[in-house]
């Protein structure tokens, strides 16, 4: 048995709390895969995972929001059933929907950076609704652009078919998610500071 003689190098309180929040948010994005809602324009129901990506950026900021989604991808790759429909495994990170998955950390960082104007968190009450809508719209564009490119490269679809199947039918639901996210940010329901 090896003996470790180094002294204990404690993680600071701030990092520990942020790591706990990032990990819990990653688990929450995974849990959102199990709650589906009907899609008004398509038989394929929608889950709240993209909403989780937006909220990670808004509540955790660009750095820890992106870190949270990286944890989500790593846990899913190792076998936690967190991806679309409770799927898991490395193959999801290179398969047809890989573009969407890889876009999540980038989108969370972008949403966080726009909402908080940089790396430091600011009070969400001071953020105006147009900024929130703009940030989440930018996040949506990133997610669907990368997702459509992933579909286009992996499945033998034309770019137009990939855009219709992979983005257009989901956009009304994204509108509902942005509205829901604003409702959450603006309500007093979330107590965490």
């Amino acid at each position: 048995m090896a003996t470790n003689t180094e002294s204990v190098d404690l993680v600071g309180d701030e990092v520990a709390t942020n790591l706990a929040r990032a990990a819990l948010f990653a688990a929450l994005v995974g849990a959102f895969a199990y709650v589906s809602f009907p899609n008004p324009v398509s038989p394929v129901s929608v889950t709240l995972q993209v909403l989780g990506v937006f909220l990670a950026g808004i509540f955790l900021g660009p750095v820890w929001g992106a870190a949270s989604l990286v944890l989500y991808l790593a846990a899913g790759a190792l076998g936690a059933p967190v991806f679309q429909g409770g799927s898991a495994g490395f193959v999801e990170l290179v398969g047809g929907t890989a573009g969407y998955l890889w876009s999540y950390p980038i989108a969370a960082a972008l949403v966080g950076a726009i909402v908080h104007r940089g790396g430091d968190l600011r009070d969400l009450d001071a953020v105006s609704v147009p900024v929130l809508v703009g940030a989440m719209t930018a996040g949506t564009v990133v997610i669907y652009a990368m997702g459509v490119v992933g579909l286009y490269l992996n499945l033998e679809l034309t770019l137009v078919e990939a855009t219709v199947q992979g983005a257009v039918v989901f956009l009304p639901a994204e509108g509902a998610k942005i509205a829901a996210a604003i409702g959450i940010v603006r309500s007093d329901a979330i107590a965490a500071e």
Partner: protein, 237 residues
Amino acid sequence: MTLAYVPDDALAHRLDPRSKLLVQLGFAAAAFAHTTPRGLAALSVVAVGCLRLAGGGPRDLWAYRFALPFLLVAPVVAGATLGAPWFRIGRAVDTGLASYRVLLVLFIAAAYVRSTPVRDSRAAIQHTVPGRPGQLLAAGVALVFRFLPVLKRDLLTARDAMRARLGDELAVRDRMRIVAAAGINRAFGRADRLGTALAARCFAWNPTLPRLAFGRADAVALAVACALFAAALVGAL
């Protein structure tokens, strides 16, 4: 029932987590390079074998049951087109094979999760990814594994509570808001308690992790991983 580590004396339980991860990667690569009926038939044998070696069976795949409807519907959606000929068999078959490939990978993932304690996964990540990013990643992934079932339960409880109050008659936007707000509140509450507990229990950059060492059985696992990578390479060329 959520898939989790099951203590056992099966062969897979004695392997180093890193060799199991390499087998997973090799399997994904081989499955990707050989998405043909023959290739997937051969890989099915490997997948079932891996799950058996972890002491698992069909019961373990139950955790991934939510993925099954997606995998079954995908070929139908892919084959359907607007306009003649309405249904393209070739595309449906391609997507069907891709769906089956995901199913096989779920076998391997189930074998890994069943045979590997979370702290071993944590040690494996920490040995593979250097420095503090690796330590944060390792600790974070371990927490995600532990809290996923809890938060899933929180969300389903919130949704049931909403339904009991006729929430299904609300607009989709409001239903999403109610369920997500409840989920985030619970998650933040748990995160704050967890953060305090981590600090109180000396959460350190250099914790004592289980010692990992390659044994004789790992040589076999590594050979299997190498064979899978070689098969992937041959298929790609």
